[in-house]
């Protein structure tokens, strides 16, 4: 008899009555219907849909979110602060008149909280995931002093132009625990790049947290044809101050180590910008440096609600490679720059998320809180 009971449970053997089936046809949850109410820096989602035929519980769309808050202090990094926390290193002058920019990076094992209450045994650069957001200017000489305080061999493999000796692959910059290595190369080409550990096995080293964004700003002097654009990209220039720039790394965590991610996020913490929307001043343009380092899934994406943006694939051009889009795809290690503005918009909460619904619902979604002025 048990066999029957089990068989009756299978999807196919279910003989639904006609009346019952119509109730079953009610709409399923869509992220588009989530309305947000902002309570200080903690948002509670509220349901929007209502229909007499829909059971009352089905209007609770806003319940689709992780529960609780992450202890950012214990983690040692805060997702909101990480957006603008550029690591510019120390700059000295070289005899030939060029600048030498030095970064110091230490690899270490660290247990981090990737979603409220969920700990992940990460491998980190400077104790954070993603690693520090490195920022340099085109043409500078870069020196990255890398120490491995972790329990496994690690490296820093930069996406950029450099010699084979500086590639950060086994035999050229992968160092054992306790060792130190100095990567040296010129900052070029300008653009939005990344670095990651290239020790083997690659997938494990990447997905454990060893990656970061690496931005090289264009030198306006080298791009007279697009000098204004180049100036606006150059961190610290008067033209750049106008922009609201953010570093976003799309990543994910496979907490069961079965080759499928349990948590997706932008800057590590699932739902961090949903619970604490990113304040954006309406009158100033927004520029996002976006990197996809998601392991195990072939692509990730970025979709902006209620707005369109210009996109600079890999950031190596000063004119957009895609104009007026509200969605871009990135494979792993692909990256680019998004530029948009809310100048003509009403103030309010504007969602952004991966447009793979699964990623969004597993944590990779956030909100821009567009306000008149930042106090």
């Amino acid at each position: 008899m048990l066999r029957w009971a089990q068989a009756a449970l299978s999807r196919r053997s279910l003989l639904l009555g006609g009346g019952a089936a119509t109730i079953g046809a009610t709409a399923i949850c869509s992220t588009n219907t989530v309305a947000q109410e902002n309570h200080g820096n903690h948002a509670t989602a509220a349901g929007a849909q209502s229909s007499a035929a829909v059971p009352s519980h089905q209007s609770g769309h806003g319940a689709m979110i992780t529960v609780g808050t992450v202890d950012n202090e214990r983690n040692g990094f805060h997702p909101t602060k990480m957006l603008t926390d550029w690591y510019t290193g120390t700059v000295t002058d070289l005899p030939d008149g060029r600048k030498l920019r030095t970064f110091e990076i230490t690899a270490e094992d660290k247990e981090i909280e990737i979603a409220p209450g969920v700990m992940f045994p990460a491998w980190t650069y400077n104790g954070r995931v993603p690693g520090p957001a490195l920022r340099a200017t085109e043409g500078e000489r870069l020196k990255i002093v890398f120490r491995n305080n972790g329990s496994h061999p690690h490296s820093m493999h930069f996406h950029g132009i450099h010699s084979a000796r500086m590639d950060g692959v086994p035999g050229a910059g992968v160092i054992a625990p306790g060792d130190e290595f100095v990567y040296e190369f010129d900052a070029r080409p300008f653009g939005c790049h990344l670095y990651h550990c290239h020790a083997l096995p690659l997938a494990r080293h990447i997905h454990k947290g060893m990656y970061g964004i690496f931005v090289i700003d264009p030198d306006p002097a080298r791009h007279p044809e697009n000098a204004e654009m180049a100036k606006s990209r150059l961190l610290g220039s008067p033209e750049n101050v106008e922009w609201q720039e953010m570093a976003m790394v799309m990543n994910a965590f496979d907490t069961t180590f079965d080759g499928e991610n349990e948590f997706y996020a932008c800057n590590t913490i699932a739902h961090c910008y949903t619970k604490e929307p990113i304040k954006v001043e309406k009158g100033r343009p927004v520029r996002i440096y976006l990197v996809n380092i998601t392991e195990f899934d072939p692509i990730n994406s970025f979709h902006l609600h209620g707005n369109f943006f210009d996109y600079f694939d890999q950031g190596t051009t000063l004119t957009p490679t895609l104009r007026t889009v509200d969605l871009i795809m990135q494979c792993q290690a692909q990256r680019g720059i998004l530029e948009f503005t809310y100048r003509e918009h009403e103030v309010g909460l504007y969602m952004f998320h991966a447009h793979q619904s699964e990623f969004a619902e597993l944590g990779w979604m956030g909100m821009f809180d567009v306000v008149e002025t930042l106090s």
Partner: protein
């Protein structure tokens, strides 16, 4: 002669005094000292290799209603468990846990998720613990969990009557026709009873073990099932033989009890299927069950052929054998935890084993007072057992999907 070990007394000849009991303090002191030492100085820390604790979570009950999903979970890890997040269909959902906090080993908690489930479709709930481990729970077909209501109770009782009471009654109605049976027919009928009981025994044990697998590891499912069945068997044999081996009406009552306990377990399974979405229960299946269970009535009637029972006896036997199906469906539809169904089925299996023993005994004594188990090998008996097994197997085909 004293060298012969058989002449040694098995126990000490020293008269027990309260002073001897004082010696019990010694092992107790050693145990307490060992526990304290283990807790205080942690001498086994060398085994701590940095591996995360073993985690285990069993989902025992699933309730779907207008407020969403409620699941009863039982922690079974090496340390208390923490449910950090809950996914439904690969999306994180808000949830509340009652009681909140960590779930100690062996304890249960209710997790409520305001999830808009879709009628008739499948959902998957995933519990993510604080270490990132995940535990999946399938809801194969989402239907509202039955609530206790007059209407539901009546329709469930009707179903129970169809699969439990009606077939037994039909079987017992064969009684007048069987009364004129000769010795060989009598042997055949008793043997057929043994055959059908043997089928039920195997079926029940298998079901019990499957429910045991679904229950939390802490209950040691299969050991629990076997021990419960053996205990139930021994207890019923002991009770049944207080005044010699049961025969006649008494034996019929034991058969009815065994079948009744089996039907109770089956009722639980049907009820659980209801609770979890058995909208596929068609008329054909119900008729299949009725047919399948008719032999049970004939089996109960077999030991009565030489006595003259009253009508009320038949009524009582019918209710004893078939009635528990109704109670089983009632209980099961309220979603009982799998370990209880396993125990109920195991008790039923023990009871069936008992009546197999007694009916076989009766079969062996069928032409003399001296039991001769070679009777079981006569053509009438062998064909009876074969017929019982074959009938049960064939009619089971109607209800196995």
């Amino acid at each position: 002669m004293n060298e012969n070990p058989r002449n040694f007394r098995p126990v000490s000849t020293v008269a027990p005094t309260p002073r001897h009991l004082l010696w019990l303090v010694l092992p107790l002191i050693v145990l307490i000292a060992a526990v304290l030492w283990l807790l205080q100085s942690d001498p086994l820390r060398g085994f701590n290799n940095g591996a995360p604790p073993v985690e285990n979570l069993t989902i025992e009950r699933t309730v779907l209603d207008e407020n969403g999903l409620r699941l009863k979970v039982r922690g079974g890890g090496s340390e208390p468990m923490t449910i950090a997040q809950v996914q439904v269909d690969a999306a994180y959902w808000q949830f509340t846990q009652e009681p909140a906090g960590t779930i100690p080993r062996g304890d249960t908690a209710w997790v409520a998720i305001p999830f808009p489930w879709v009628l008739g479709e499948a959902h998957k709930v995933t519990f993510v613990t604080n270490t990132g481990a995940t535990f999946d729970h399938e809801i194969p077909v989402a239907v509202p969990t039955p609530k206790v209501s007059g209407n539901a109770l009546v329709s469930q009782a009707l179903l129970g009557a169809f699969v439990g009471i009606l077939p037994v009654a039909i079987g017992l109605l064969c009684y007048p026709a069987l009364r004129g049976a000769g010795r060989n027919t009598m042997t055949f009928l008793l043997a057929m009873t043994v055959g059908l009981l043997a089928f039920l025994f195997v079926d029940t044990i298998q079901e019990a073990l499957e429910f045991a697998t679904a229950s939390a590891a802490i209950f040691q499912g299969s050991v629990m099932v076997i021990l419960t069945a053996v205990a139930s068997f021994l207890m019923l044999v002991a009770i049944g033989r207080r005044q010699g081996s049961p025969t006649g009406l008494a034996l019929a009552a034991y058969i009815a009890l065994g079948i009744g306990l089996h039907n109770f377990g089956e009722g639980l399974a049907i009820g659980a299927a209801f609770a979890a979405g058995a909208a596929g229960l068609g008329t054909f299946l119900v008729l299949g069950f009725t047919l399948h269970n008719i032999t049970e009535g004939i089996g109960i009637a077999a030991p009565l052929l030489k006595v003259r029972p009253k009508l009320v006896h038949f009524l009582g036997l019918t209710l004893l054998a078939g009635g528990p199906a109704v109670f089983g469906i009632w209980l099961g539809s309220l979603a009982v935890a799998p370990q209880w169904t396993a125990i109920a089925l195991a008790i039923g299996a023990g009871a069936i084993a008992q009546v197999i023993l007694e009916v076989t005994g009766l079969l062996a004594r069928s032409d003399s007072d001296r039991a001769s188990y070679t009777q079981v090998l006569t053509p009438a008996a062998l064909s009876g057992i074969a017929a019982g097994l074959a009938f049960m197997y064939a009619t089971a085909m109607l209800v196995k999907i």
